[in-house]
């Protein structure tokens, strides 16, 4: 709703550029089209999980169990496909439903039994991790039998043909420009402050350039990866959900002031359960993608992903107290997080240092959140 660019937005873009510059200098392969394509797939996976986390943090809760959940529900689908020879779509559907039910139950416990989400999901983290290792029996379960492809494996290995990418690209740019014009006219009609035509034009122009550049670079390698399309669809949905629906308004209201929201007639309990159930669906989706990206379900899938998702939200300006944040911020936060991880892997930085770096970034982001909240 607020169209002003804050110092925070700027600092996000600038730190992203700095990170990219440093990695490019240290390791020129960072900007190779092959690495960028991989970076985009990794980014899609983390960003999708972070969008789910955003929907849980917005009403003032937290979910520590998503990393284990990613492993577990990816693993269940793998086992159904590989060991029980189920069709991939059916296996994924069943796993998805199980995840939604599980998260719905956790939401119920948070709301009805008044157990803090922190504790419920910390329990979930351990329970899901144990269940995950039981389900795959500490072995490696491929997502598809013997070198074939199925819907499951295609999730992260399918690339769009060039002409489809260009068509989509044009549609998206047209859509963005159209939305901008409509919203400008509406704001004018309402008597709200409207930004300069030049600023609006520049925003649309830069967005269009970025999208086009991305498609061009992707087509240098194998094309636009499917995960990016999934992410774009989900991000648009979450954006509409949070900005243009009753549900989204309520999420912000409950996160800002739960008591006032309750007195205003908002069904607070139902809302929180719904946001957890949505998280469940997103955990399953992330689980399929992460597992497909690795090629098979192994015990390390999803490890510590909950922290990357939380970090992405917080870096992107989502308040851990709830009530503040937006989709664009979360996407940027995820991109920063993933660029760091990917760059460090390229530089062959040891896992010890990678842990320390991840922890430092998370801490800095929360510190910034606290500082900004006090200003």
């Amino acid at each position: 709703m607020n169209n002003k660019l804050s110092t925070r937005d700027f600092s996000m873009v600038i730190s992203l550029l700095i990170i990219w510059a440093i990695f490019t200098i240290l390791s020129p392969t960072f900007v190779s089209s092959r690495n960028l394509s991989m970076l985009m797939i990794e980014f899609s996976i983390i960003a999708i999980l972070a969008l789910g986390m955003f929907l849980v943090i917005l009403p003032g809760h937290i979910d520590l169990s998503v990393g284990s959940g990613v492993g577990l529900f990816g693993g269940i689908a793998s086992v159904l496909v590989f060991q029980y020879s189920w069709a991939a779509p059916l296996a994924m559907f069943v796993s998805l439903i199980l995840a939604i039910i599980t998260w719905w139950l956790m939401g119920m416990l948070v709301v009805k039994q008044k157990i803090p989400a922190f504790i419920i999901t910390l329990g979930g983290l351990l329970i899901f991790k144990g269940s995950f290792w039981l389900v795959i029996q500490n072995s490696t379960i491929p997502v598809v039998k013997g070198g074939n492809v199925n819907l499951y494996s295609l999730l992260t290995t399918y690339y769009l043909p060039a002409y489809v990418s260009y068509t989509l690209c044009l549609l998206v740019i047209g859509g963005v420009a159209y939305r901008k014009i409509v919203s400008r006219n509406q704001r004018k009609q309402y008597g709200f402050t409207v930004e300069n035509v030049e600023v609006s034009f520049m925003k649309v122009f830069v967005t269009a350039q970025a999208i086009l550049l991305f498609v061009l670079v992707s087509n240098e390698y194998r094309g636009v990866p499917l995960p990016i399309v999934i992410l774009a669809t989900l991000a648009t949905l979450v954006y509409i959900l949070t900005q243009h629906t009753k549900f989204g308004r309520y999420l912000y209201a409950v996160g800002s002031n739960e008591k006032a929201a309750f007195i205003s007639g908002i069904p607070v309990e139902k809302l929180v359960i719904m946001s957890f159930a949505t998280m469940g669906a997103i955990v399953a989706l992330t689980g399929f993608m992460q597992t497909a990206y690795a090629g098979s379900s192994t015990t390390t899938i999803g490890n510590l992903m909950e922290l990357d998702a939380i970090a992405a939200c917080v870096i992107g300006g989502t308040s851990l107290k709830g009530g503040r944040g937006n989709v664009m911020g979360v996407l940027f936060g995820a991109l920063i997080m993933v660029s760091l991880l990917n760059g460090m892997t390229l530089l062959a930085i040891s896992p010890e240092i990678k842990f320390i770096a991840r922890g430092t970034v998370l801490t800095l982001a929360v510190w910034m959140d606290v500082r900004l909240a006090n200003d």
């Binding site: 402050t193 929201a261 309750f262 069904p267």
Partner: protein, 502 residues
């Protein structure tokens, strides 16, 4: 040490973009009680901050004088050294410590590095005796009522040899009885030669205690009046800059059918009985006032009927003939019942969001299709209430936190009215808002009853109850202490029902 005149001459204080004080003269004579009145935003709190050194000497124009000498204050500490102490609404006391420990907090007398407990208790007792305050210095502060805690704070200031006290809204949390005690003590202090600046919204108290009254408006001192030669009308006139002939403009309307009926209601909270055997009904076009002392269950009654508090052990609530039971606020709103809470910051507003967000929050169903909100229709409806309630703000995108108390209250009222209710619960609808905004709230109540709404208003101010209600219920310890038709009623009758002295 004698008390000196304390004065401020031609004070001008500017903040970035705002002139908070545009020329204020104020003189506190030795041994007088001098009240400062003004609407919210008139500059009272800025003036206090200057008088107490919180805004340091060089941050404003104009000068302070103590006696004939100019006084430069750079901090609260400087002010305390000059014998000036401010007592705020939120008390700076520690509940776990005894009264005497609190009185000597921060300046404990020691002997060889060890606290001299004997001195603390004997000197505290002496101070309390001197001003004839009946509090045991060995009592734990937390066991005292708010009124007595306030007295402890005053004694603490006197213990520091303060000769000038500045009291900022000291009675907002006190019961009527405690207010009386406080005012008596202040008069005693005056006789001892201690001067006092008294800031309050409540004109009754101002007139009961003051020697003189200075009125601020828009950052200027408009007038300094002798309390015994002026009238409430004149003070209000100075405050708002226009004449208000009738403070309570209640227009009676003809009554319709019964909209809300409460019978034999018993409510418990945490297994404790809070509301006992409550019966009443409200008709369309009627204002029912609910009064009672703090803790009598006024707000709890409204909250329970609205579905937000307590567990019903027996009794019924009927809204337009339909029973309400085990319901949530959301269900109440659907049935045409809405509540405006007494604490708008905690229970009313999403303070960091804009006006539009808040106005439509309870009515989003109205603008919601299958999935999407119709922002066009939402804007039209928001704009309607924004204009009709005359919210003073640039537009609907202004953040609620930056509005004055009165305008915030209008936003909460607008949110409630947009749900198209039949019955409106108003819990202390005019708390903490200025005279002008109060009048607008009262006029809104009149409009609502004319349109056939039923209004239930809880208020702790008896003049407001008498001024705006058609009938009044006084609660006493969770029971109905008395029901009155508001004709030739006296405050005393209501008070005795609230305390069940009849």
């Amino acid at each position: 040490m004698g008390t000196l005149n304390f004065s401020a001459k031609n004070i001008i204080k500017k903040f970035p973009g705002v002139v908070a004080l545009a020329g204020v003269d104020f003189e506190l004579r030795a041994g007088e009680i001098h009240s400062i009145c003004g609407e919210n935003g008139a500059g009272k709190s800025t003036l206090i901050k200057i008088l107490s050194g919180i805004h340091p000497n060089n941050s404003y124009e104009g000068k302070l004088y103590l006696g004939d000498e100019s006084l430069e204050l750079f901090s609260l500490k400087d002010a305390e050294k000059a014998g000036i102490t401010v007592i705020y609404q939120e008390l700076a006391l520690i509940e776990e410590m005894t009264v005497a420990e609190n009185i000597f907090l921060g300046r404990e007398p020691t002997r060889n590095g060890i606290i001299d407990w004997h001195k603390i208790y004997s000197e505290s007792q002496q101070l309390l005796n001197q001003f004839q305050i009946d509090i045991d210095p060995t009592a734990c502060l937390g066991e005292l009522g708010v009124g007595q805690q306030q007295l402890v704070e005053i004694v603490k200031a006197l213990g520091k040899k303060s000769r000038i006290l500045i009291l900022d809204e000291p009675t907002s949390a006190l019961t009527e009885k405690e207010v009386k005690v406080l005012l008596v003590i202040l008069k005693k202090l005056r006789n001892e030669g201690i001067s006092c600046v008294y800031i309050s919204h409540k004109l009754d108290e101002v007139f009961a205690v003051s020697d003189r009254i200075t009125v601020l408006r828009d950052g200027r001192s408009i007038a300094t009046l002798d309390a015994d030669k002026t009238s409430r009308g004149e003070v209000i006139h100075c405050m708002v800059g226009r004449e208000i002939d009738n403070l309570f403009p209640r227009n009676k309307t003809s009554l319709g059918k019964t909209l809300l009926k409460v019978s034999n209601l018993n409510v418990t909270n945490r297994k404790k009985e809070v509301l006992k055997n409550i019966c009443f009904e409200v008709k369309a076009g009627e204002v029912l006032g609910i009064g009672g002392l703090m803790g009598s269950g006024r707000s709890e009654l409204l909250l329970h009927i609205f579905g937000a508090w307590g567990k019903r052990s027996s009794g019924t609530v009927e809204v337009q003939g339909e029973p309400l039971e085990k319901h949530t606020p959301a269900q109440s709103i659907k049935k045409g019942l809405v509540l405006v809470s007494e604490d708008r910051k905690i229970y009313g507003l999403i303070i960091e969001k804009d006006i539009g967000f808040n106005l439509s929050l309870s009515s989003l169903d109205m603008f919601s299709g299958l999935f999407l909100l119709d922002s066009q229709r939402e804007f039209v409806e928001n704009d309607k209430f924004f204009r009709s309630l005359k919210v003073k703000a640039p537009n609907l995108e202004s953040i609620v936190e930056n509005l004055s108390g009165g305008n915030q209250q209008k936003v909460v009222l607008g949110k409630a009215l947009m749900t198209d209710p039949k019955i409106i619960f108003l819990d202390e609808p005019t708390r903490g808002i200025d005279v002008g905004a109060k009048l607008e709230v009262y006029e809104l109540i009149n409009q609502l009853t004319e349109k056939g709404y039923a209004v239930v208003m809880v208020s702790s101010e008896l003049p407001e109850l008498l001024g705006m209600s058609d009938r009044i219920i006084m609660l006493c310890e969770g029971r109905v202490g008395g029901t009155f038709v508001n004709e030739n009623l006296e405050q005393e009758q209501l008070m005795s029902a609230a305390m069940e002295e009849n």
